[in-house]
């Protein structure tokens, strides 16, 4: 299964420049793609456009060669799991109730919950390492647990692709690593994962491909070591950086202090 944007341009009403400018790239099953870029570079707009939530002015997003706009939301929900950046449930829910909602698209308005659904929920909880949390109120969860529960809800729908918008924002390194490990594991099981993140270094170590966005344009798309060049990263983020190799062979980005600039390695 492949989700791909081709020459997608999105311009918000009243904006002087487009939020996305002729963006083309895709994500397929079995790969982890990380989208990185400065604030306001169009990452969230890109995710929303890929999900069919924002209509491009020109260009097209295709899921398996079909325009995303021709899919019903219900059919899409069974194929693409998504974690939008912000979610504040209006009412107190339990973890079980949250994950159960991942099945609503498959069940439709009236079908009863079956053993299949229960198995899917149990499987999703287990994969995300939140088994035993079923009866906890979500207000008692830590930020990392809440994100894993949201991933479990997405997985309960048995999607082929998973799109996440900054899932590790505000998480400490333990929770952050656990989430990237989980994503890597899911990709190993054949899922295609696209994650928006500000963590260049984790993206470099976990992702198969990096897509670097700058002012609505894809300025680089390829293996992490090819994308994370010091001159390119420095130009896009408008801050001097050094790029150093880590022992696993991945490039790691080190932002420089002002007085380090001239002595950069």
């Amino acid at each position: 299964m492949r989700l791909a944007a081709s020459s997608v341009t999105v311009q918000y009403p009243g904006a002087a420049v487009p939020a996305l400018d002729e963006v083309s790239f895709g994500v397929s099953g079995g790969e982890l793609v990380a989208v990185v870029g400065p604030n306001g570079s169009g990452k969230t707009t890109l995710l929303r456009t890929l999900l069919g939530l924002t209509r491009p002015q020109s260009g097209v997003v295709r899921l398996d060669d079909r325009d995303i706009g021709t899919w019903t939301r219900r059919a899409l929900a069974g194929v693409i799991g998504a974690l939008p950046q912000r979610e504040e449930p209006a009412f107190p829910l339990t973890v079980r109730e949250v994950v159960l909602m991942g099945r609503w698209a498959r069940l439709g308005p009236t079908a009863a919950i079956t053993a299949d659904d229960e198995a899917a929920i149990a499987g999703a909880l287990a994969r995300c390492d939140v088994t035993g949390f079923e009866d906890r109120g979500i207000e008692t969860l830590s930020g990392g647990e809440w994100q894993r529960v949201r991933v479990a809800r997405a997985l309960a729908a048995m999607p082929r692709l998973l799109l996440l918008d900054e899932p590790t924002a505000a998480l400490d390194i333990g929770h952050e690593m656990a989430l990237f490990e989980l994503l890597r594991q899911l990709v190993g099981d054949g899922l295609g994962v696209l994650v928006i993140t500000h963590h260049l270094n984790l993206a470099a170590r976990y992702a198969d491909r990096l897509v670097l966005l700058d002012r609505g344009r894809v300025v680089a798309d390829g293996p992490p070591n090819a994308v994370l060049r010091a001159d390119l990263v420095a130009a896009v983020f408008e801050w001097p950086v050094a790029v150093v190799p880590w022992r696993d062979g991945t490039s790691q980005v080190l932002p420089l202090k002002r007085n380090e600039e001239r002595r950069a390695p």
Partner: protein
């Protein structure tokens, strides 16, 4: 707890009973969506008890034996009171209360705001203006009143929505409530003006829509109400899983399978028609839609498959009891039932408001 999750709850999370692992609800064809599987049967028994009590008490208190005899035998001494006055009145109060609670619960999910309610959002005011207008310009009672009330409710909802979206860009719950109160006050002002210029007879028959009451209940009115309310009630029940998802926010709802814009329109129309049906039958009754869903969410959980039937039964029972109080405390005079529900609802609203703004 990380800061991000503190915001998740918005401060409106009463302690909930947890259920043993693997326990599932069993009613209404679904399992696993109810925290307390005995809640609905208990509510049903409670509602039945409220109904029986309401049949006994009134301007003329009756014994259980007399009521039973009257229900069985059309020639029993109290048959007229029981069959033509009390029974349709209790049933209508039950239906109206249930509909108001379902409308409230649905609006709360739609607007992601536990304070949303037909009266506070100005829907009831709009419906009441429509109903009074129909009476003042001399349309025949019955369907035309319900139709005008529906138009009024829809117009009020559209206006409230419009004001709050323009003022706040995004739908800010506080602005929405303010807009609702303002539109409610506006419709009340126009309604009052209409009543002043109306002739005394019309004035008398129209005031009931301002204050709310079941004094005019009849079998005809009950059937009219059922005919109008049945479809929106069924529709909201059918949309209960969409309501669950909409309460998470638009993007989450869309990615979990909801056509957000289309579903939102359906829910707005359904709740407006439902509110209009209650106003046409019994006038403006506030706070049922606020108090009942809030109380029930902590018992049956926030999933609407179980919540909507539960709030229907509980809202019905609550309103039957409120009406019973309204017609007995000042016997033989009657208080408007909206006065009773407000006396209970306003303190609850105040507590909820403080919590949600904290």
């Amino acid at each position: 707890m990380v800061a991000g999750t503190a915001a998740i709850r918005g401060g409106l999370s009463p302690p909930r009973p947890s259920h043993p692992q693997g326990e599932t609800g069993f009613f209404l064809g679904t399992s696993g969506t109810t925290r307390s599987p005995i809640a609905l049967p208990i509510l049903g028994i409670g509602a039945l008890a409220a109904g029986v009590l309401a049949m006994l008490l009134g301007a003329i208190p009756l014994s259980p034996g007399a009521v039973f005899a009257a229900l069985h035998d059309a020639n029993a001494p109290d048959a007229a009171i029981v069959r033509e006055l009390r029974l349709p009145r209790v049933l209508l109060a039950f239906g109206v209360g249930g509909a108001l609670a379902v409308a409230g619960a649905s609006l709360q999910a739609l607007l992601r705001n536990p304070l949303a309610e037909p009266w506070l959002l100005g829907l009831s005011g709009g419906a009441s203006l429509g109903a009074v207008l129909a009476v003042v310009i001399g349309l025949p009672l019955g369907w035309s009143v319900a139709a005008c009330a529906t138009v009024g409710a829809l117009a009020a909802m559209a206006l409230v929505y419009r004001i709050s979206v323009v003022a706040g860009r995004r739908l800010d719950p506080r602005i929405l409530l303010l807009a609702g109160v303002v539109v409610g006050a506006f419709t009340a002002a126009i309604t009052s003006a209409l009543l002043v210029i109306a002739d005394p007879f019309t004035f008398h028959s129209a005031t009931v829509w301002l204050f709310g009451g079941f004094g005019r209940s009849s079998w005809d009115m009950l059937w009219h109400f059922v005919a109008v309310a049945a479809l929106p009630l069924a529709l909201l029940w059918w949309l209960s899983r969409s309501l669950d998802l909409l309460a998470l926010g638009d993007d989450s709802a869309a990615t979990l399978g909801v056509d957000v814009e289309g579903t939102r329109r359906l829910i707005i129309v359904a709740t407006s028609v439902l509110t209009a049906a209650t106003v046409a039958a019994a006038g403006v009754i506030g706070f049922v839609g606020l108090v009942v869903p809030h109380a029930l969410r902590s018992i049956v959980g926030p999933l609407h498959r179980s919540l909507l039937p539960a709030v229907f039964i509980a809202g019905g029972a609550f309103t039957v009891l409120a009406d019973m109080v309204a017609r007995t405390v000042l016997r033989p005079a009657e208080l408007p039932v909206g006065v009773v529900t407000a006396l209970i609802g306003v303190p609850v609203f105040a507590v909820l408001l403080r919590r949600s703004l904290r």
